[in-house]
């Protein structure tokens, strides 16, 4: 792979799960392990501290060809557009995301749900606009469908990233018990 593989999506939309899958596929992952695993992400977050400073400094991407990095939406808009990327965009039902975030932050934000829903809509739109304007290829992966039908989703992923691995090898990463806060309705 001659590009930087970027995993994006809103926080709590399955970006860490996708990082595990990518790790399993033997793609080198840019991660410093500073954010430790916790009950919200028992397998770890696969994050890089430098991503938080991407607005001021995106140079950590300069030597990232062939590697994967997690950059939550809308931060990809600060990526250097002259580099080559391939992006996996994790999507999840907004109500599930909001509930999952509230649970993780142990905060009741029900009275601000529409506010955050709107902010996240803007973040998604901005990120998609950046990808389209810069002709960056991306693949939408729906978290719910990934859990429900891992084989189909993983096959698309393998094709999109030209991964040298088998669907079955990656499917073991997708553990249905991680699919918390399911939107029963």
């Amino acid at each position: 792979m001659n590009e930087i593989l970027v995993i994006t999506g809103l926080p709590r939309s399955g970006t860490s799960l996708m990082m595990q899958i990518i790790d399993k596929a033997a793609v080198p992952v840019l991660s410093d392990g500073k954010r430790e695993k916790d009950i919200s992400n028992p397998e770890g977050y696969f994050e890089l501290e430098a991503v938080k400073g991407i607005v001021q400094d995106n140079s950590f991407l300069n030597d990232a060809n062939g590697k994967a990095v997690k950059i939550v939406a809308p931060l990809p808009i600060y990526m250097n557009p002259s580099l080559n990327y391939r992006v996996i965009f994790m999507r999840r039902d907004m109500d599930e995301i909001l509930r999952s975030q509230e649970k993780m932050l142990q905060k009741d934000q029900v009275s601000e749900r529409e506010k955050f829903r709107t902010i996240y809509d803007f973040h998604l739109k901005k990120t998609y606009r950046f990808l389209k304007e810069n002709d960056i290829p991306f693949l939408d992966v729906n978290y719910k469908e990934l859990i429900a039908d891992p084989e189909k989703q993983l096959k698309e992923l393998i094709d999109f990233c030209s991964l040298n691995t088998l669907v079955e090898e990656l499917a073991v990463v997708v553990k249905p018990e991680l699919y918390r806060n399911r939107n029963e309705n």
Binding site: S111, K115, T118, F122
Partner: protein, 818 residues
């Protein structure tokens, strides 16, 4: 390049207002201004929102809105963890003086806000800190009066500029007497108001001195001078201006009632001097960035929030131009702050940037000019001047300028208790937050509601609720049809008691209108009106909702009352005109719609309805003009092009009709046949027959009252894949103009329909009474008027359900039956 003979003098008087100037000219107190007006063109200059002077004067000098030029308030981050008065470092685009420098013209720029540090232009610059007599918080002596860094360009003129300065201590009691005749009886040391007058006079004299000195001693093509004195005098003394405001102290009124008048006389005297310095080949332009309420519209109190004093500003400044090739004694309409730079460029026959938000005021010319355009002045690689000192601050001059802004009430002072570092950080954070609020307001003012909303949601903080932010969020949410978001904020505001209940009712009513719930909106607004019978917002909103409800006489009463309170309110004139038009009183409607566009030219809805009104009066040529104005200022309204197509078809202009047909097709979301009608047995039978012959009808054909369609969703009709869609009668007006439509309208007897409704027991609460019949009659009358007032609409009237079998009806249906 050869210099043009014609020079241009641009004079800026912050907050100058026609209401005062006209009275003064009539009384013979502004003879210089009167001469200019009689020999030139005059008009009102519409301001921008927010009406804050540094943002407006930068728009004036660049032709773009604040979200493009970057000057976002009175103060800015100094890059070192603190704030400083807004400077030229914030400006992200070229100003008129840069453009003229690039083309080889010489300029004198004096006192423009903000222009410190000055730029190395082709000519001379004297910044807005030039007149400052304070160093830090101390007033410097006249003999030891330093010049702040970055004030003058080039260095060679520093000495002569220092010579012309007038120190406030030079302003003696005698000089203040024309403003306050009884000044001698007041203790100058005790009454700060006299000191303030002396200071404003000294500042204005200093700027005037610098301007005249440069005009006299330097070669120039363009001189621009900015005076803040009328704004400052007005903020401090307009409350004493006649007529006397209720509750004002009698003694204070007698003492200071002539101050504002004196300020205008003083400016007229300065103008007289300038007129004596230009010849007949020169063009003079006088502008103000906004007006100032001087009558019953003066606010009774100024809100204690940042930039609170801006509530005293009125939305129209002044525009006057006099010179060769410019009309004499004429009036122009529709000028905006944004149009000044494009117009100055046209005076020099220079091109206008297509990225500019303003336009050339071509109506000022006896013979309209052919306007030249370039993509953007930013892309031209020529030397236009750069800021003479790097982006660091002279703390002492910043502090004095900051103090000036605090004194004027535009910004809050920093807290002094507690940890100074923490205070500074908090102050900076709040300043940046406030500037982002102004940025959001600028986006909203430019119609970029998504951008505004995104920013507002980021800066809104429930720990420090600010009602201004919350109101703006709700307004943007309504504009972008995010009603759930608006409701969430309304619930929050109500629960915290952050705004008066009646004002919340007005906001809630706007949401209800968006949700197509006009009865609930009316209820809320009627409640608000009980408490504030004269509030323009309440009257306007109530007028709008009554128009929707087709209580057209009630609507007209609301708008009329609003016009009585403020005859300049373009929205009230538009509202009245629309209500009259819906009532088919076209002559009356025309009068008010013309008033609306005269008062506010950049008002696409008013031009649009004016165009419709003219069509109904069969004045097709005039209607074409109105719709072309709409197409120019709001090109994304598809219905405009439908009207233009329709009118040209009527006039037999085949080529034009085809042209607009093509545009319509670009906007078109699709073609639909809408089945609708009086909710009765005939309609039910028609639906049944059509279904029997195998027609797929979209929508809920049992839902005669539109309870299952969410018309608040944009382009809701697109949700139906079928070509034929059943839409209940009361929702017809919500159909987007982006569809090509054919209506199958089933007519029925209203009395029979009322019986049918009661039999269906859908309206269980209804009893046979006049109310239901009246409601149905009204609905039928509304829809038939609506049909008559739409462009490019085919309506097939069905009186008998069996008529669907006739070839004529089948012609329409066959197109859509597989």
């Amino acid at each position: 390049m050869a210099k043009k003979k014609n020079k241009v003098l641009l004079v800026g008087w912050d907050a100058a207002d026609w209401k005062i100037i006209d009275k003064m000219m009539e009384a013979g107190l502004m003879p210089a201004m009167k001469r200019v007006v009689e020999n030139g063109v005059r008009g009102r200059l519409a301001t921008l929102d927010p009406p804050l002077s540094p943002m407006l004067w930068t728009s004036m000098a660049t032709g773009v809105r604040p979200y493009k030029h970057g000057v976002l308030g009175f103060v800015e981050h100094d890059g070192q963890g603190s704030v400083r008065p807004v400077s030229s470092h914030s400006r992200k685009v070229k100003a008129i003086w840069n453009m003229l420098s690039m083309e080889g013209y010489k300029s004198n720029i004096v006192g423009w806000w903000p222009s410190n540090p000055v730029e190395s232009i082709n000519g001379c610059m004297v910044s807005n800190l030039f007149q400052q007599e304070k160093k830090g918080k101390e007033v410097m002596d006249k003999d030891n009066w330093e010049m702040p860094a970055g004030t003058i360009y080039p260095d060679r003129i520093i000495d002569k500029m220092m010579e012309v300065r007038v120190h406030p201590h030079d302003i003696t009691g005698n000089l203040v007497m024309p403003f306050v005749p009884q000044a001698i009886a007041l203790d100058k040391k005790q009454d700060k108001r006299l000191t303030i007058i002396a200071k404003f006079l000294a500042h204005a004299s200093t700027i005037h001195g610098a301007c005249t000195e440069l005009m006299e001693t330097e070669e120039w093509d363009f001189t621009a001078v900015y005076h803040d004195a009328i704004d400052h005098f007005s903020h401090a003394f307009m409350k004493y201006n006649p007529p006397k405001m209720e509750g004002l102290d009698e003694e204070a009124y007698d003492l200071f009632k002539d101050v504002v008048k004196g300020a205008y006389v003083f400016h007229d005297m300065m103008l007289e001097r300038l007129l004596g310095m230009i010849d007949d080949d020169s063009t003079l332009v006088i502008v103000s960035d906004h007006g100032f309420h001087s009558d019953h519209l003066r606010p009774r109190f100024v809100p204690q929030v940042p930039s609170g004093p801006a509530v005293e500003h009125s939305p129209y400044g002044i525009f006057v131009a006099m010179g060769p090739g410019i009309k004499k004694g004429a009036r122009i309409h529709g000028a905006r702050v944004l149009d000044v730079t494009p117009t100055v460029l046209s005076l020099f026959d220079l091109p206008v940037g297509r990225n500019m938000d303003g336009k050339v005021l071509n109506d000022i010319y006896e013979v309209p000019k052919e306007i030249k355009y370039i993509e953007s002045w930013e892309k031209i690689d020529k030397e236009g001047g750069s800021i003479v000192i790097p982006d660091n601050s002279d703390e002492s001059s910043n502090e004095s300028a900051l103090q000036q802004l605090i004194d004027l009430g535009y910004i809050d002072d920093m807290k002094v208790e507690g940890d100074p570092d923490e205070n500074r950080k908090e102050y900076l954070k709040n300043t940046l937050r406030e500037n982002n609020f102004y940025l959001a307001k600028s986006y909203a003012n430019g119609g970029q509601y998504d951008e505004a909303l995104e920013l507002l949601l980021e800066i809104e903080n429930r720990k420090y609720p600010d009602f201004r932010y919350l109101i703006e969020i709700i307004n943007c949410a309504i504009k972008t049809k995010r009603f759930a978001l608006a409701e969430e904020y309304l619930t929050y505001i109500r629960s915290e008691g952050l705004i008066k209940e009646n004002f919340i009712d007005v906001l809630e009513a706007k949401v209800q209108i968006g949700l197509n719930n006009a009865p609930q909106a009316t209820k809320l607004l009627e409640r608000a009106k009980m408490s504030f019978p004269d509030a323009p917002d309440v009257l306007l909103e109530l007028g709008k909702v009554l128009t929707i409800m087709r209580d057209l006489e009630g609507a007209k009463d609301c708008f009329k009352k609003s016009i009585e309170i403020d005859p300049d309110n373009a929205y009230a004139h538009h509202g009245f005109g629309l209500a009259a038009m819906r009532n088919e009183e076209y002559e009356l409607a025309l009068e008010y719609l013309l008033n609306a566009v005269e008062k506010l030219y950049h008002y696409p809805q008013a031009h649009f309805h004016l165009g419709e009104c003219l069509v109904f009066m069969k004045q097709y040529e005039a209607a074409i003009h109105s719709f072309e104005v709409v197409a120019n200022i709001a090109p994304n309204l598809p219905k405009t092009y439908r009207w233009l197509q329709d009118i040209h078809e009527i006039l037999g202009n085949e080529k034009e009709a085809n042209y607009f047909k093509l545009i319509v097709s670009k906007y078109k979301l699709g073609e639909k046949v809408i089945l609708t009608g009086v909710p009765g047995e005939k309609l039910q039978r028609t639906i049944q027959i059509l279904q029997e012959i195998g027609l797929n009808i979209g929508g809920d054909t049992a839902d005669f009252f539109g309870e299952h369609i969410d018309v608040s969703q944009p382009n809701w009709l697109s949700n139906f894949s079928e070509h034929v869609v059943f839409v209940p009668l009361q929702l017809i007006g919500s159909i987007s103009g982006k569809f090509d439509l054919v209506f199958l309208y089933v007519q029925d007897d209203v009395l029979k329909a009322a019986d049918f409704i009661l039999q269906l027991e859908i309206k269980k609460e209804s009893v046979y009474d006049a109310e239901l019949i009246h409601a149905l009659q009204k609905q039928v009358s509304v829809i038939e008027t609506w049909f008559a007032q739409q462009p490019n609409l085919d309506v097939v009237y069905l009186t008998n359900p069996e008529d669907v079998h006739t070839p004529f009806v089948k012609k329409y249906l066959d197109l859509n039956v597989d």
